[in-house]
Symmetry: C2
């Protein structure tokens, strides 16, 4: 995600982010939880997200797509196949639970009452938090795709462990995705067309967005090469909006991604003629679009431009 400082000094940018965060809390749009990057949403904020979602759905493929909704956790077996723990271990949220005896529970509680950590009495559950809305969808299509492939509409909560002051970098947020699984050409066309259409959606909401080549925040030294490859092969385009003026390069609010054979290979998905399937997705970051609207049109939704209000709240 393109939120690295370039022009302004870090402290100026940090201050701008902290200021925006405080404004959102003071205006009762977000609700403080005490955990950096984790917020409750007020009714007003939620209504903006619901409005944005109506606009996104109206721009989307409608009944041409298969609508699927997944809970915020998905199977560990599917998580393993995404290779997320290799590329983004620092963002991962694995679920642990207690499966011990009465005696072990008594030990846990004794440790807790001494003010000690009790996590060592837990063990890994068979689920992991979803980090991209499309991840739970692929396992369903293992095997040969039908003629023409698949077009999916998925929407759900994502978790990424990246505590931050910037309100646009949340640990838990919603992503509405349209996903294409099919031939190499199907996938490439899906990604390319959504760069254009995504810019139109954002423009129709009065947002000044720019399409920029981007890379995922791969972890560590080995990750640097993966990031360079992703850029060289032009696999990720982000639509960014400047939330903090010239202080940074802008915040990605929509992401258009070619996965090439990544999910086809690891989930065993093939096209009708036996080739490894390609996939691509466009992901609308719902909270980030809401924040871009608040930053662009002001914190008082009643004072937003009539055209924008009409689009969001028909």
């Amino acid at each position: 995600m393109t939120t690295t400082a370039t022009t302004g000094t870090t402290s100026e940018l940090d201050r701008a982010r902290a200021d925006f965060r405080q404004q959102l809390l003071d205006a009762d749009l977000l609700v403080e939880t005490g955990v950096p990057g984790l917020y409750g949403r007020s009714g007003t904020f939620e209504n903006i997200v619901e409005g944005v979602d109506r606009v996104v759905v109206a721009a989307g493929p409608g009944s041409d797509a298969t609508k699927l909704r997944f809970p915020p956790v998905f199977p560990r077996t599917s998580f393993e196949r995404t290779d997320y723990i290799a590329s983004f271990p620092h963002l991962t949220g694995a679920v642990n639970t207690f499966a011990g005896s009465n005696a072990e529970h008594a030990e846990l509680l004794a440790a807790r009452s001494r003010g000690e950590a009790w996590d060592s009495w837990l063990e890994p559950a068979d689920t992991v938090l979803v980090s991209a809305a499309c991840h739970p969808a692929y396992s369903r299509y293992a095997g040969a795709l039908r003629e023409g492939g698949e077009l999916l509409d998925v929407y759900g909560y994502c978790f990424r462990h990246e505590p931050a002051v910037d309100p646009a970098r949340m640990q838990a947020f919603r992503m509405h995705e349209f996903v294409r699984i099919g031939t190499e050409a199907d996938a490439a066309q899906h990604r390319d067309s959504w760069v254009e259409r995504g810019l139109e959606v954002l423009g129709s909401l009065g947002l000044d967005a720019t399409a920029v080549p981007a890379n995922d925040p791969f972890f560590g030294r080995a990750g640097r090469m993966l990031a360079v490859n992703q850029r060289t092969e032009n696999l990720k385009t982000e639509l960014t909006v400047r939330l903090y003026g010239d202080l940074d390069e802008g915040t990605a609010v929509v992401s258009c991604n070619c996965h090439r054979e990544h999910f086809g290979e690891t989930f065993g998905i093939t096209t009708v003629d036996g080739q490894v399937a390609h996939s691509a997705c466009v992901g609308f970051g719902m909270e980030r679009i809401a924040l871009a609207l608040l930053r662009t049109h002001g914190l008082d939704v009643d004072l937003w431009p009539g055209q924008v209000r009409d689009r969001l709240f028909p």
Copy 2:
């Protein structure tokens, strides 16, 4: 939750649950994930849930309530205050993440490539999965309540680690709650009034529901006493619908709960005159109501009674 076998033999009940589960998968209402009790939702199922939510909201307090929405994870500090790890350790979902170095990540990946577990390289994050929609709300009201107390409208995903064949026992599901925080009388009145109103909501959808005294599934030997106390003090009333005929006592689809001073005490909430606040909530189990509708009116939504369709899909 009242789903214990009473009349039928366990094997009959198990078979009925497995059959219903298979029907839901075959009819493309739920999507198999491979993890017991974890499902994707089809567009049709999701439309039912959205319809039920409209009905619940219409029966609710409307703008008299403060609308709050929380992500599926909430702060570990708040989780600690709920005492959930003492009462329901087996249902808990604690979040772990990787916060190590490049070298440690290399060790994790080496273990993974040998087919070994890699969870020991993770550490507890500052979040835990939400197990009841109202849990993230209380911390906001620490201190003295305003005159009249609070009435909240919260809706979100809950996680409970209880793998099961019964499709009504999901590991991840949505709960729409109306929560009252105030005096003892405020809380008691809220709970009592929602027993009545909840039955009306379910009746208006053609569901044959019964109000029954109930208890939470407290863990272990010590939990048995807590469960007995909860029943003796009449703190929990569930509205149940029979999904499996006479084979069990019915499935709780709505739960009306008096918490007494539990959350007031642990979150430091007081009434305007300095007493420890009481709280109560009604929780609508959205997936369970959807399943009760499918069981009662059939798997083909187009063939549901006109009156029910009109209520759900106006």
